[in-house]
């Protein structure tokens, strides 16, 4: 929380910070104020990446409004929890991201898991990334976590940003990813190189052999895809 405040103070405009202080006080007095104020954060405090060197297109990068929304929820104290579900239900994507990123800062045990689950089910890459922070690492079941990792690969969310990777993945998750590489190679297609950092936590001999067998495929595109996939693996190993 101190980090968020400090980062915001460096990044947001003085009038934005003044609005945030004023609104935090209003929310502390009456948490219902969140229902109207939460939507206004972007235009009052800003929407740019919190880290000035971050790429605005990076779905993992926190934004100024993310940090401001987390601080507003913290300002509501114990009464924040009662507002969460409705803020999420009636929130646009930026508001939902704010709720999701706040979960790790709130004292709600696993009671925010339904929101994480909902966000992972969407195909909105920003929501999926916002859901997969430390709160998800702590509370998702192993199977849910593995599925979330695969989902990220499917929709194009770079997986190295997922909190808890690669340790949190299970042998079954590593196996599913290896099978997915095989499926892509057989289609002559690619997957991002970083999948190997997960796969090689628990290398599945069966699927890796199947990928290697594609090097002998009668089809040129499949041979080439297998070569690329395996070369990515070597690069990841050298980096490790």
């Amino acid at each position: 929380m101190k980090d968020l405040t400090a980062a915001l103070e460096e990044r947001a405009r003085p009038e934005g910070l003044a609005w945030l202080r004023e609104t935090s006080a209003a929310v502390a007095a009456d948490a219902a104020a969140l229902r109207t104020k939460f939507a206004m954060v972007g235009r009052k405090v800003g929407r740019e990446p919190l880290d000035p060197s971050a790429d605005p297109a990076d779905v993992w990068a926190w934004t100024v409004d993310d940090a401001a929304r987390v601080l507003l929820l913290l300002a509501a104290g114990e009464r924040a929890e009662a507002e969460l579900a409705e803020l999420y239900r009636f929130g646009d994507a930026a508001e939902r991201r704010g709720v999701l990123r706040a979960l790790a800062y709130l004292d709600i045990e696993d009671r925010g898991l339904g929101l994480v689950d909902d966000a992972i089910r969407t195909n909105d890459t920003r929501l999926i990334a916002a859901a997969l922070g430390p709160y998800a690492t702590k509370h998702l079941s192993d199977a849910q976590f593995d599925q979330a990792v695969i989902k990220c690969v499917f929709v194009g969310v770079p997986i190295l940003g997922i909190d808890g990777l690669p340790e949190r993945v299970t042998p079954d998750g590593a196996r599913m990813l290896a099978a997915f590489v095989h499926e892509r190679v057989a289609a002559g297609r690619d997957l991002p190189p970083e999948v190997w950092t997960v796969i090689d936590q628990y290398p599945s001999a069966e699927h890796i052999a199947a990928i290697e067998a594609e090097l002998q495929s009668p089809f040129e595109d499949r041979r080439a895809a297998a070569e690329r996939a395996l070369s990515y693996r070597n690069v990841q190993e050298q980096n490790a």
Partner: protein, 286 residues
């Protein structure tokens, strides 16, 4: 050419359409909330629809390089289910303060019933409360009379005329609308409400002040490239590039910027500062 389509029902369009629109110059658009081709029966259907306008459709549009905004409102057709209409109007305030919600709409008349009138009044009051522009749909039937009645109600409600766009105009309604101080919208359709060649004549006769053109592009026979086709027809008829930019970009920006909730400050920024000084919308938001 940069195009802002001020009325496009993208929920009913494919990704091919998004690609073609981007290629034609569309960089920003407004998707007005409307009905979905058949009546909804529960308020939850409206909530999910409004959320999809603010969430998924905005995300989808962004994937194709087009900034998506929306209007939120209860359309006149569904206003006739009175019990449901009350429930919908009750949830509207939760959506009207959002970034990217640039007007209340589409509201207006369909069959000019008492229920439609009640829903329109209630939503005009919300527009005043939230200081938002209003997008008004004119009836398909008995259009000239319905349009005049609409204008009267708007003026009575206390919404400033310059905060109102009255849409789906034709040769016979445009004068009343412009004389009232409201903006006049034209939906350019293949062969029905208005086409690009008739639109050129309207522009020659009435000028470009407070005029908007849109493709409407819903699930009926419609064409998401009609704004570009209108621009091309205008160029052919001798309108300058600056005139065309005014009609297909600066006019919609000027109208919807009045909401304070337009998010286009990071699109084509150098171009915008050069041509759109003094609005204050394009700076200071970020």
């Amino acid at each position: 050419m940069r195009i802002f389509d001020p009325h496009a029902h993208m929920t009913s369009r494919t990704t091919d359409d998004y690609e073609a629109m981007y290629a034609s110059g569309v960089r920003a658009l407004v998707e007005p909330a409307f009905w979905l081709g058949q009546p909804r029966t529960a308020v939850g259907s409206f909530i999910d629809y409004f959320n999809s306008l603010l969430g998924w459709e905005r995300f989808r549009s962004g994937q194709f390089g087009i900034r998506h905004h929306c209007t939120i409102g209860l359309n006149p057709k569904e206003a006739n289910d009175e019990a449901l209409a009350r429930e919908v109007i009750e949830v509207l305030p939760r959506f009207l303060a959002k970034d990217g919600v640039v007007a209340v709409g589409e509201i207006g008349f369909d069959a000019m019933t008492a229920a439609e009138e009640w829903a329109m009044k209630a939503q005009l009051e919300l527009a005043v409360e939230f200081e938002l522009p209003v997008l008004v749909h004119t009836p398909h039937r008995d259009k000239a009379h319905g349009t005049r009645k609409t204008i009267e109600m708007v003026i009575e409600s206390g919404v400033k005329p310059e905060f109102v766009v009255i849409d789906h105009n034709n040769e016979l309604t445009v004068k009343d609308v412009l004389d009232s101080g409201c903006w006049a919208g034209f939906s350019i359709y293949p062969g029905t409400k208005m086409d690009e060649y008739r639109m050129v004549r309207v522009a020659q006769e009435h000028g470009l002040e407070r005029i908007l053109v849109n493709s409407a592009c819903d699930w009926g026979v419609s064409d998401p490239l009609k704004v570009r086709k209108t621009a091309d027809a205008m160029a052919e008829a001798g309108f300058s590039a600056d005139d065309i930019d005014r009609l297909v970009w600066r006019n919609p920006v000027e109208f919807f910027a009045q909401s304070g909730q337009l998010i286009i400050d990071d699109i084509e920024a150098p171009d915008l500062t050069a041509t759109f000084e003094g609005s204050g919308v394009l700076r200071g938001e970020r």
